[in-house]
């Protein structure tokens, strides 16, 4: 069970208070009508699914109800950082 630091509450809480909401930083296309079916399908369904560092969206569901981002290793499950919506991660994989 993960121990997650909520950047809004300012302390660690148990995973039971949170919900994982999938990959972070997936922005809704500004002009959906201009998207092809392929582009819209990719926005809807296609994800990075990395083995290693992953940026993901979580919500402190039972706590402050704020969404925030987590950089986590999907293999070791280590959480490298948490950061607020609108901020950028400092841990990134080299591509």
């Amino acid at each position: 069970m993960f121990h997650i630091y909520c950047p809004h509450c300012g302390e660690y809480r148990e995973e039971e208070e949170f919900h994982a909401k999938g990959q972070a930083h997936i922005a809704r296309p500004l002009d959906p009508e201009a998207c092809s079916d392929k582009e819209w399908g990719e926005y809807l369904f296609f994800r990075k699914n990395p083995r290693g560092l992953h940026h993901e969206l979580w919500v402190h569901a039972a706590g402050c109800r704020k969404f925030f981002n987590v950089t986590r290793d999907t293999q070791t499950y280590e959480i490298k950082e948490v950061y607020k919506i609108g901020e950028q991660p400092s841990f990134v994989t080299e591509e």
Partner: protein
Amino acid sequence: MTQKNRLQSGGRIDRSKPLTFTYNGKQYKGYQGDTLASAMLANGIDVIGRSFKYSRPRGIIAAGAEEPNAIMQLGATEATQVPNVRATQQELFNGLVSGATNGWPSVDTDVMGVLGKVGGNMMPPGFYYKTFMYPQSMWDTYESIIRKAAGLGRSPLENDPDMYDKVNQHCDVLVVGAGPAGLAAALTAARSGARVIIADEQSEFGGSLLSSKETLNGAPASEWVSFVVDELRGYDDVMMLPRSTVNGYHDHNFLTIHERRTDHIADRAPDGQVRQRMHRVRAKWVVLATGAHERPLVFANNDVPGCMVANAVSTYITRYGVVPGNDLVLMTTNDSGYQAALDWHDAGRRVAAVVDTRKNPSGDRVDAARKRGLNLITGSAVIEVQGSKRVSGVSVAPISADGKSVAGSVTKISADTVASSGGWSPVIHLSCHTGSRPVWNEEVVGFLPGPTVQKQLTAGAINGSYSTSKALAEGQQAALDAIAALGMKAAEVVLPQAVEVNEGQPMTLFHIPHLKSTAKAPKQFVDYQNDVTAAGIELACREGYESIEHVKRYTAMGFGTDQGKLGNINGMAVAASALNKTIPETGTTIFRPNYTPVTFGAIAGRDCGELFDPKRYTAMHKWHVENGAKFEDVGQWKRPWYFPKAGESMQDALNRECKATRESVGILDASTLGKIDIQGKDAREFLGRVYTNAWAKLAVGKCRYGLMCGEDGMVFDDGVTSCLGENHFVMTTTSGGAARVYEWLELYHQTEWPEMEVYFNTVTDHWATMTISGPNSRKLLQELTDYDVSKENLGFMDWREMQVAGVPARVFRISFTGELSFEINVQANYGLHVWEKLFEHGAKYNLTPYGTETMHILRAEKGFIIAGQDTDGSVHPYDLGMGWCVSPNKPFSFIGKRGMAREDCVRPNRKQLVGLKTLDPNVVLPEGAQGVLDPNAPIPMPMVGHITSSYWSANLGRSIAMGFVKGGLDKMGEKVFYPLADGRVIEAEICSPIFLDPKGERQNV
């Protein structure tokens, strides 16, 4: 019966407290402080079970968690049966009832044993993959025989009378194991002011010190243990948990501890007490001081009762005052094994021989054995055991220096007990649970904990540090490391002085050679519980199962309830040798939770029975119960389903409720609908983005129905949203969808459109909501309010604030029944008051309470959908015939708009929701029936869609249904057939889903 193997003195048992217990129907005596195993050994019980595959007699081998054989059925009553209890870990209590788990008619005269002897050769590993295939039809028969033979103990057949619970714990340092290393660690951490939890699976703290004659500071080690325990007890922030197994190590230093609080007292927990407790621990640091298990050696017939692990022999003698035999042969590859022979000799029984596989052993214990004049046979091994239900003798022979072959002639020695020691395996199980792979260490001849990302430290035998002085020092150091990492100041702890024992070099040997090849020699067991032999492992390797994982799976090695604590390393060694590889080349051994098995009840905790899941109630629930409602589970809510009167069938009640509502007035508790208060200057714009229809012009005082879709364009919720003020709305959602919609709104607000000024607050529980519906609803309402609720003053889809029955209310003129309806919302603390007042005044109108089922019928008569029943995540608004509820021209591309325009969403012949009238109006189509156009088509029959809603409509005097039909909206009047499981084929005609009052005149009065 006398305890023939009990010593007159010594041990940690209390001879003044005799206890009586039952084994296989016979009564025996033991003492307070015994385990079931030590008491059985004291009474000279040799055979405690039969092996699982070959049905061979088995005896107790070990003294702790690693025991593979002594797996008992416990329980004096049916409800308190516990299968598969390890006798070595079960403390004896007065009245304990136990039995062997295998063996028919008894363990001593077992019929299967004969079969095992005859058929054993037919059962190499994986034999079942190679046979029982022909004829195909016989497999069921073969399998039922296999199933009966398998399994260990049995499940109780009555419900558990005991309680379990869970406690969430937090600490700075969790120390696992209260042996010398663990105690040193706990003491150091505690004295430094840390919050400490120390847990040990045994009944008392001390670990290896409990069963050794070692001294610390010149006094018996137990004195130091008492001193530490006393000091630890004095700290508020130290929690000491004996009888508590740390069974799982999970991510981010979350560990579970299974505490057995009453299993040592009785079958059943004393009244009010919890039988077992799970501690869910979040530890900043973990110190693993879990010790090591001694490895038995693998030799022919090494499973005959009387064969034991050397250290277990010592433990029974020193801790329990039990010598488990008369004549001992010890076989060892190392010095530590000698202790068993020394203790045996010192207890006054005969040591027939000490067989050391090393040519020239030397060391303090070897010297001690020589000094006692023990018969020391070096460079040799016990290559075979004689006896069936008890060891009668052994064959000893010299072996080659590499231990691979017999190098001389065989001598027979008579003995009734064979102790063996192949060295020690560190107990690394917990360190593996989070995915860390153990690393082989040549020096230790064992796996050590591998690198880990957890905040984990290790101390003592788990590191291969087997001396007490090292254990103490490492325990202290681990605590100091943790204290430093926590930024705390370490307190001074002076460790006690242990006596250093000089030890010679151990020999790396696992599998004792035999005169015959492994395949032809008598069985040499590696994993006792699963009857895995060295020959079996070699065969697996020969057959190409070369990965250690393949070997384990093919032979079932390590899959028993002991999880291979004794056998895994030996098995790997046998495989490595067969494959001509080293042990690390063969692979590694990964352990998973649990360290030892954990009661399901303890994992469930108190979340079972009444507390399995919350039941959510509305403010009027008590009234519903008192008025005979039947309830429906909707999410966690308990909603009235219908209100039968005495003697009424469900359909009678529904007919009555439906008619009363359409003819006069009915009332529904609608409090469970989700309600979200939305405020802010961008609230209106936000609604426009999340709903498919337009919200720009909804005036204050007005209500509007909306559909909500996902980005894929599929409907996921619906409800009425009302404009309370220019910047203020209240949204309603389905009862089951409330939490999801609320989170959905927050998701978009927080991540996509944070610049929008809008706040969402859930007010579901705040308002009690009651809907009165029917032609007399206005009259009824008017009696309870001074506000003019006439059509002119409170029109359809209007809401107003007014007092109802003296309580301030918001009244919404919205309708889900198609009748004149008023939805009255009052603060929930006053819900029941208003509800009861409505009944006081409603009697004359035959005000009839109705539940969800009548609500469903009434709305279906009007063709209104229920999200979740008439939708399934694969339909968009146009599929539902609800294009009227989509405003494609809104400036913002609302959620769902792009999704529902994808190629597959706009193709012709999609399944569309339509009304369906059965040809025979008296037949009600079953919900879920699948429609076909040609009921005579062969299977697989092309289907056109299913019935989503179907009812008997008392008001229409016929059945009505809604369902999906491919291209249905363009097929009005056409026929669909519904072939049912009972053989009937029901014919229906496609129609509009609005069966009643298509112009909406009834609600618009």
